[in-house]
Amino acid sequence: MNTFALAAAGGVLIGLAAVLLMAALGRIAGISGIAAGLVDGRSRDWGWRFAFVAGLIAAPVLLGWIGGDSGIGSPQVGPPWMVLAGLLVGVGTRVGGGCTSGHGVCGIARLSPRSLIATMVFMLFGIATVFALHHLPGKG
């Protein structure tokens, strides 16, 4: 399969996961919301959250055992940038109420206007950040 067909197939699997979670547990498959519920001090329903995150982490490892390739790539920036980026992603996804999965996939699938706007905003800021770091004169 070429990489674009594989990417679309991967997307279908992500969609099936989202549909399964809604059908069985009535929950949006938003990674930041599910995982942040483990540390927010308010949510008490840790069981399903923990199981979902465990499956997410285990999946590429299992793929690696079965097919030889986990698909996990290497970080592209140094540790200080990784820490800064992690902090921004953490704060931003919680304050903004979602990430690429909650807003970008589930929200857009529900035609939620807030999710459409949020997705456009984080895409635009992501594009602008890459441009600023890699294409402005004197940079990388």
Partner: protein, 138 residues
């Protein structure tokens, strides 16, 4: 049963991310780099996921309740406020710096790259901080 379903959903999600190239930050940064060597793979992943979810949700949300819970827990907020826009902007900047959003970052933990561990630790700290700030305001 809830635990088992959540585990299966997580596995499906992780396999989808991996097959789609999303656990490679170079692919994600390539998508955001529309002025360089653009890599459209993320758009194919999003399209496949959004279409599948939209079709599936039509079927699921037409039912009275989920299989294992008493009600669907759907977001109720409708306002476009500073939190939504500002949060998305801050997230976008972090995403553009490293090429990781929360799903792929967690799904890449199995490889054990030290700087990715640092990213996830910082991300979890960010979640905790945001929850503390929200709690302090109430």
């Amino acid at each position: 049963m809830k635990i088992l379903i959540a585990l299966i959903a997580g596995l499906l999600f992780g396999v989808g991310l991996s097959l789609g190239g999303m656990t490679q930050p170079a692919v994600v940064l390539g998508f955001l780099d529309i002025f360089g060597h653009w890599d459209p793979r993320l758009a194919f992943v999003m399209a496949g996921a959004v279409l599948t979810t939209a079709i599936g949700y039509r079927w699921v949300l037409g039912r009275r309740r989920p299989w294992l819970e008493t009600s669907f827990r759907l977001p109720t907020a409708t306002r476009f406020d500073a939190r939504l826009i500002g949060g998305a902007a801050v997230f976008g900047i972090g995403w553009g710096i490293a090429g990781y959003c929360p799903g792929p970052a967690l799904a890449s933990l199995g490889a054990g790259a030290p700087s990715l561990l640092a990213f996830v630790a910082a991300m979890v700290t960010g979640w905790w901080l945001a929850a503390r700030l929200a709690a302090a305001k109430q």
